[in-house]
Symmetry: C2
Subunit: 556 residues, 2 copies
């Protein structure tokens, strides 16, 4: 893989041998047709705008040929039909905040972006059955604010990806959050999809006029087609229902800072038992020390003598200073007062050698008051520090979105840290996620982690890593290469590290849970049959191959 | 719809205008090819055997042209390829116990059955992560016995469809059971499927060699194709992983006999709240009086003066005699001793006007001892009666399969009831399920039930009905027309009742959750777009239309 300077890919119209491209003359015609369909003001071809959409936190990205901004499903259908007529590839984005996984850019070159950001309506709220129907432009913050105002008795699930990310965009990439509804692909209830051939599909029971159980029942009747539109390029999702949780009568977050690296297998095995028993129902995150530390500070270049990766003794020192464990667990318990208390006891019984901190709103308030007092007296920095780490996470466990977790993305950036967390694209953050999916089996998961860490170090990177119980039996191991995009040497090393890690993982059976443009081809490693069938379905729903060329098409 | 005497459809080879038929000469050639592929002993064409496979609990069924009995996935692939070569339709069955939904028979005429019963291996057990991998022939009893012997710490979920039904067969028709894992389509983890074009597909992560999280993580990477193979005719599932539950530390069943018909909306709304809070996690069944009574006795022809439907006063009398309520709720709570106790209190608090009976193993033992004693003294028939109803249900709530619920299928059969429940096909039971899916919204669900009951009565039938919380927000309303198949007048009335009910339900937006051969076309009512897309996928995966013609193909 050659390193390409970012944002320097010229707008090149037709490329020999590429599918779905168009000659320049035809491209102009297409632009006119799109302008007629959605309004000229909503067709962007200005170079600075295209540059902006082509930015990436990765080593390079495909700059779009143009950007279209439809306002309705009907306009999306028209866009797709025009794309089909001229054979031009298009790629939809919701908010374009797919940081570290390709950002707003299309997977391959020669595609037109369809930015669905204007479609940001909250179409429906059912406050008896607990669901909302959203358009792709709706952000985490927008839904949160809406619920605070219109349905304060309901909680949403949120990811750590900040306030301005799209809920639909995250869900379609099979993202996950922090609560009982953390596995987002299980909380969707009815998609509206424009297929690659322009047809409109409603999944679940949505295609029946006035179906009473529409949204209430996800499976529909006949084949369940909903799963087809996660991690694929078969259609453009223009609406999605998602479930909400009723505010629980009682709630408790729990935190564990396990001191030893060797604590990991036991933590996983014991938490898995409680998950499978249905006692713990939330997503549970187990962050390593560096992940926790990266939420508080940037790489200590000076203390590390400008070297990388982080020296072992400095790592230990930071662990103590930031009051984090080798492994840092957080999760949530909800129910009635007595079931929460019973579950807390079960958790403590399962991990008798660990100190588990249980927090609820009342305790947080008390701790804050105490901290203020102690700080005045110059005492107990540990409590203050712990509280600082814990507070945004505590919010996430209750479905309150926050930009705080974005800080981690710029771990290796050499500038002074801004006061407020910023868009990683605005601060030169280099970010490449490597997220294998592992069984919730302590020794197996720990072995995979042990395999990864030396590869990160060999290339001069630090292993920032979280293991998340996304289901009762599976851990998503979310690690990332963090680098400074302005340093060509780091970019090169990041790519080498990325290639080595992803290939080693795939070959050893630790399959990536999600792919960035760089790893789409990697997904074919060790696989047989599946991608061929997937290509047949693509052919059936998007016969001209108009949509998101290359996305989850490893064989293409 | 004309009434056809059952089992009298002659084996007619080619039918003008039918897809995938073959001339007699070619049919013989196909039979030879199949015999060569799987062994002549495993190709049945004998008339009595075909008659047997063509039996139905419905008004009529399509008699198969032949029956093939493969023993392996490779043989299934060969069968499919031969079917494709000769253009002959084939229809797979697992155990053929799809009573009341078409039984073992294919949806349309001129198809060859592929009976997967010989493929009855339990391929894998993972007693750390809690799953098994099954072939289609594995029955509920077989898995239960296997777990008792090899993994007694794990529970399975079971349906009320008896000991000898296939787990895969039920799951592919989107069946459901009684426990925390009652929604079977959420507990599958990896299918192996032979597509209509002979390709082999493994869903989830199963297509990767040695994927560590195979089975542990259901979604896989890329589009999730698993949902495609429930309620469809896209492939023949030859293996399926399913999740097991760890035996809970504490367990309590709960039962409510609500006295008034008008209790229904409150029951639904309050139970829905507890389900959505994650406090109640099991499937919850709410049976009406007649459903509960039909599990204990057949229609009281003499007391009803040989008339139907059941006179209102007799219905009330039976309700008292059998000690059942107008609505009879059962569900399960599992956890630790203290979380179970806390959940019991939450349930009682939510339904303060209802007496809730909580049962566990210890209480059942005590009650049995007391009953034996009281019976000797001639006292307390109510307790004995209640216990008799409750015991098999209690088992189902713990994942113990039972044939007892099969009794209800022969409610209207005029013979004396046999001591042991029998296969409905062996006792002239007429059975047609009508199962709309409703939101877990009390007034809406109650209104749908109120619409159904008079239609049942108008045609002389009794409304046997259960509302089941299959998910946190959806009720499957499982009702059935029960009739005596030997009475042509009843068969005619059953068909009329069926047609009126299904059409009324579909037109009013109460969509059928599952279809029998008779209602496949009905599924198109009020729908737009979906079935057309489904047909495109069919075309992609089974281009010759070989598999299960007509099954979930309302537009065909």
């Amino acid at each position: 893989m050659a390193v390409t300077s970012p944002n320097l890919l010229k707008p090149s119209y037709p490329v020999a041998g590429s599918q779905a491209s168009a000659e320049p003359a035809q491209f102009s015609e297409a632009l006119s047709a799109w302008a007629e369909a959605i309004g000229a003001a909503y067709v962007d071809v200005a170079s600075p705008i295209l540059d902006r959409y082509g930015r990436t936190t990765g080593p390079r990205a495909a700059r779009p040929l143009a950007v279209l901004h439809p306002d309705s499903t009907a306009q999306v259908q028209q866009i797709v039909k025009i794309a089909g007529r001229f054979g031009i590839g298009i790629h939809p984005i919701s908010r374009g905040k797919n940081w570290g996984y390709g950002d707003a850019a299309p997977t391959c070159a020669n595609q037109v972006l369809v930015d669905l950001g204007r479609m940001n309506r909250i179409v429906e709220l059912n406050s008896k059955l607990g669901y909302v129907v959203l358009e792709p432009g709706v952000t985490q913050k927008q839904l949160y604010d809406y619920l605070q105002e219109h349905a304060p008795d309901w909680w949403m699930d949120v990811t750590g990806a900040g306030l301005e990310t799209s809920i639909i965009g995250n869900t379609l990439d099979r993202g996950f959050g922090h609560t009982r509804y953390g596995d987002h692909s299980l909380t969707t209830c009815g998609l509206e999809v424009v297929l690659g051939d322009g047809r409109l599909l409603k999944t679940g029971l949505g295609h029946y006029e006035n179906a009473r159980a529409n949204r209430a029942y996800r499976h529909g009747v006949g084949p369940n087609l909903e799963g087809l539109f996660t991690q694929s390029n078969f259609g453009i999702v223009t609406q999605m229902g998602i479930y909400l949780m009723p505010t629980p009568e009682a709630f408790s977050a729990f935190f564990i800072a396990a001191p030893r690296e060797s604590d990991l297998p036991e933590l996983i095995d014991e938490l898995a038992k409680l998950r499978m028993q249905g006692l713990l129902q939330s997503a549970i995150h187990i962050a390593n020390d560096l992940r926790a530390i990266s939420g508080r500070m940037r790489y200590p270049w000076d203390r590390a003598g400008q070297t990388t990766p982080l020296p072992a003794d400095l790592r230990r020192a930071l662990r103590n200073e930031c009051a984090v464990g080798a492994w840092n667990v957080c999760g949530a318990i909800s129910g009635t007062k007595s079931t929460v208390a019973g579950t807390q006891r079960a958790l403590q019984r399962a991990l008798p050698n660990h100190r588990i901190i249980f927090l609820n709103d009342r305790k947080i308030q008390v701790a804050e008051r105490m901290t203020r007092l102690l700080r005045k007296l110059g005492l107990c920095k540990t409590l203050a520090s712990r509280l600082e780490i814990v507070k945004p996470v505590y919010g996430l466990l209750k479905g309150i979105p926050s930009n705080e977790p974005l800080r981690g993305a710029s771990w290796r950036v050499r500038d002074a840290e801004p006061q407020h967390p910023t868009d990683p694209l605005d601060c030169n953050a280099g970010l490449m996620w490597i997220a294998p999916i592992l069984p919730a089996d302590g020794p197996i998961a720990a072995a995979a982690v042990s395999m990864m860490e030396p590869i990160y170090q060999k290339h001069g990177f630090d292993t920032l890593l979280t293991l998340t119980f996304v289901t009762e039996r599976a851990l998503c191991c979310v690690s990332n290469i963090s680098f400074d995009r302005r340093r060509p040497d780091e970019v090169t090393r990041a790519q080498e590290c990325y290639r080595e890690l992803t290939e080693r993982l795939m070959k050893s059976g630790s399959i990536l849970y999600r792919s960035s443009p760089q790893t789409m081809k990697t997904l074919a490693i060790g696989s047989s049959g599946f991608w061929d069938v997937s290509a047949s379905i693509k052919q059936a729903l998007d016969p001209q191959g108009i949509l998101s060329r290359g996305r989850y098409e490893p064989a293409a």
